[in-house]
């Protein structure tokens, strides 16, 4: 699967077949008594076949809201104000509630944040996975169904005895892998993993991360991986999109992003990673994010940017390609 992605980059043209998800000018606002909070403000990106797209940014930058919009799970007072979300040729934004029931889990599934708490405590693991399958595909012959569920458990590296266990008998990492098994049960086109390892220890985090990679490689499922741990992104993602205050500020293949981060915010994110290899003085950054209800005129990052210029305060920069597949929204690179 990675081969197809590489061939795209060499030709520098993307055939529409390779794009599984296209988000266009997505805007999600939350209504508050003092005006709308622009949680996601004009975000556009594509997800290619068989890749993991990392979505990073600090808390409150709109990562999870973007994911919820793709699943059409934005809850009031939030609403999708504008934009299109194309998945396999259908616009998710226009689907009815009835159609969404089919669409979710068959086309797109979610590994929620703190997935271990999303399992039903009074049902065995097997019953929960069975529910997912039978709800969408109707009643199944028992024996085939059991084999299918066991195969799913093996896929995520869990022993067969998990089949008859209850969630409380499993450790956090095992529950997380049960959630991955459920997410791939119906062979969806896209999986959204919202901070799938944030509550886990490093050793378990690595096991879960390697499970995600295996799922991607063996089934060719595309994923959007939401997180704030840049180290984990470097290990898992093929491309990384950086969000700041509801805006997409940079998107690039993972190697380019780590080697030559362009946007000042991305540079800050990468510098702020605590290293285990060398002890260096802490890098301090001043400044606060503006109030999301009334974003400043011009660039969204101007109040914290070390390179802020006059024109940044007047008109916001748009995403421009600085090198193949590497796009950044910053005036520093506008002319080159």
């Amino acid at each position: 699967m990675t081969n197809t992605v590489f061939s795209i980059s060499s030709q520098n043209t993307v055939s529409p077949n390779d794009i599984v998800l296209r988000v266009e000018h997505l805007k999600v606002y939350y209504a508050t008594p003092l005006g709308d909070v622009r949680a996601v403000d004009d975000v556009s990106f594509d997800v290619y076949q068989g890749e993991i797209l990392g979505l990073v940014g600090e808390s409150g930058c709109g990562k999870t809201t973007t994911a919820m919009a793709i699943l059409r799970l934005v809850q009031p007072p939030g609403r999708i104000v504008d934009g299109h979300i194309w998945l396999d040729g259908t616009d998710v934004v226009s689907l009815s509630e009835r159609e969404l029931r089919r669409f979710r889990w068959e086309k797109i599934s979610l590994i929620p944040q703190g997935a271990m708490n999303s399992l039903n405590p009074v049902l065995r693991v097997s019953e929960q996975i069975r529910d997912v399958i039978e709800d969408h595909e109707g009643r199944q012959p028992r024996k085939a169904l059991k084999e299918r569920i066991l195969e799913l458990l093996h896929m995520v590296g869990l022993p067969s005895r998990v089949y008859d266990m209850y969630p409380h008998e499993l450790s956090g990492g095992m529950k997380q892998r049960v959630c991955i098994a459920m997410a791939i049960a119906l062979n969806p086109t896209l999986i959204i993993a919202d901070e799938p390892t944030s509550a886990l220890d490093v050793v378990v985090q690595r096991v879960v991360g390697e499970t995600l990679l295996r799922v991607k490689e063996q089934l060719g499922i595309s994923m959007i991986l939401i997180g704030h741990d840049m180290g984990l992104m470097a290990q898992l993602a093929d491309r990384v999109a950086v969000m700041y205050a509801g805006h997409l500020v940079e998107i690039a293949p993972v190697r380019q992003l780590f080697k030559t981060p362009q946007h000042p915010y991305t540079q800050l994110l990468i510098e702020a990673i605590p290293s285990i290899k060398e002890r260096k003085p802490l890098k301090l950054t001043e400044g606060l994010t503006h109030d999301l209800r009334n974003p400043p005129q011009g660039c969204i990052f101007q109040s914290r940017c070390p390179h802020v210029m006059e024109r940044c305060r007047i008109h916001p920069p748009s995403l421009q390609e600085v090198s193949p597949k590497h796009r950044v929204a910053c005036y520093l690179y506008e002319e080159c």
Partner: protein, 339 residues
């Protein structure tokens, strides 16, 4: 040698196993020793995965729970045998900063309430002006200004601001030790550095020691002086932070350090394939002997017979593993060259 400021002796905490209870006991912390001197102030990291006993340790030191065995000595006095005056002093000189800056505030009070309470409780100020000046000074240390934050409600502040205010509150009481339980795990990466920097400044400029409790070895590596790495309630390895992290000796610590994701796409997770054993098995299988036995790639029969003591593997560096039983007799120099 002078009396240490804080000394933990054979500290053990066992949960469960009471009268009429048949459920197996959980040893949350076993035989933990630590001595912290008043000078020089140090940042002592207690690291380990969840369930390793690090928060149990914090709760013991803060007096929230009683140890099953062992003693906590503060300035030479067992905290359970302190008189009222000493206890009050202990309460004031040992402060805490907790993990979640969203949960520690009462949402109905303005944030200055946390400072007012502390000042009133310990009678720190004679007048309102004096109190205000003290609060202002404490806020300045963490880089905040009183007029900007004090009259706000908690929900009007960012996570980083709230956590800095908790450090300011602790600082206000002129403590000698701050127990910081995962103080940066809920704060964004860009603000994390600010809080760690405050910890370093409090140590260097105000001579305040920290018990820095964390699961994140990389921040410990950046700021810590001494480290104790716990595995299921026992110390796997302890010593100087830089030595332990750069030259880990215990197989668990080696696994832990290899599992930290490297922020470089060209460097993949290192080390061999991980042995994963399910938690239930782990807990029950090792009643005596090394707790890491079920997952250890170097396990031997003797590991099951008795829990390995801490062997000296270098200058101020000890590991609880039989791999070093013979070597520890040798001089330190040969060991260092080996590593």
């Amino acid at each position: 040698m002078t009396t240490p400021l804080l000394e933990l002796q054979h500290l053990t905490k066992v949960y469960g196993g009471g009268f009429l209870k048949r459920a197996p006991v959980t040893v949350a912390l076993q035989d933990f020793n630590l001595a912290l001197h008043e000078k020089p102030a140090k940042i002592v990291t207690i690291a380990g995965e969840s369930g390793s006993g690090k928060t149990t340790l914090a709760n013991l030191v803060l007096g929230f729970i009683e140890p099953t065995a062992g003693r906590i000595l503060y300035r030479g006095t067992d905290i359970r045998q302190m008189d009222r005056h000493q206890r009050r002093q202990y309460r004031r000189e040992v402060q805490a900063v907790f993990q979640d800056p969203y949960e520690v505030y009462n949402p109905f009070y303005r944030v200055k309430h946390i400072f007012d309470m502390a000042i009133r409780n310990f009678n720190l100020a004679r007048s309102k002006d004096e109190a205000r000046a003290m609060v202002e000074e404490a806020l300045n240390v963490v880089g905040l200004r009183g007029e900007e934050v004090l009259d706000k409600y908690p929900h009007q502040l960012s996570g980083g601001q709230r956590q800095r205010m908790m450090v300011a509150r602790a600082f206000l009481l002129k403590p000698r030790i701050i127990v910081a339980d995962e103080p940066v795990s809920m704060v964004d990466a860009s603000l994390r550095a600010m809080i760690l920097d405050i910890m370093i400044r409090l140590r260097d400029e105000h001579n305040i020691s920290f018990l820095y409790i964390t699961h994140d070895l990389s921040t410990a590596y950046q700021i810590g002086d001494e480290i104790h790495i716990l595995y299921q309630g026992t110390v796997a390895e302890r010593g100087d932070t830089i030595t332990v992290i750069e030259q880990p000796k215990h197989p668990y610590v080696q696994l832990l350090i290899n599992s930290i994701p490297v922020p470089d796409p060209d460097v993949r997770w290192g080390g061999e394939h991980i042995l994963t054993v399910d938690d239930e098995e782990l807990r029950s299988s090792v009643q005596s002997g090394c707790r890491f036995y079920p997952r250890c790639p170097y396990r031997e029969d003797r590991c099951l017979q008795a829990r390995p003591p801490l062997y000296r593997v270098g200058d101020n560096h000890e590991a609880a593993c039989y791999l070093y039983a013979e070597q520890s007799v040798q001089t330190n120099k040969t060991l260092v060259t080996k590593a």
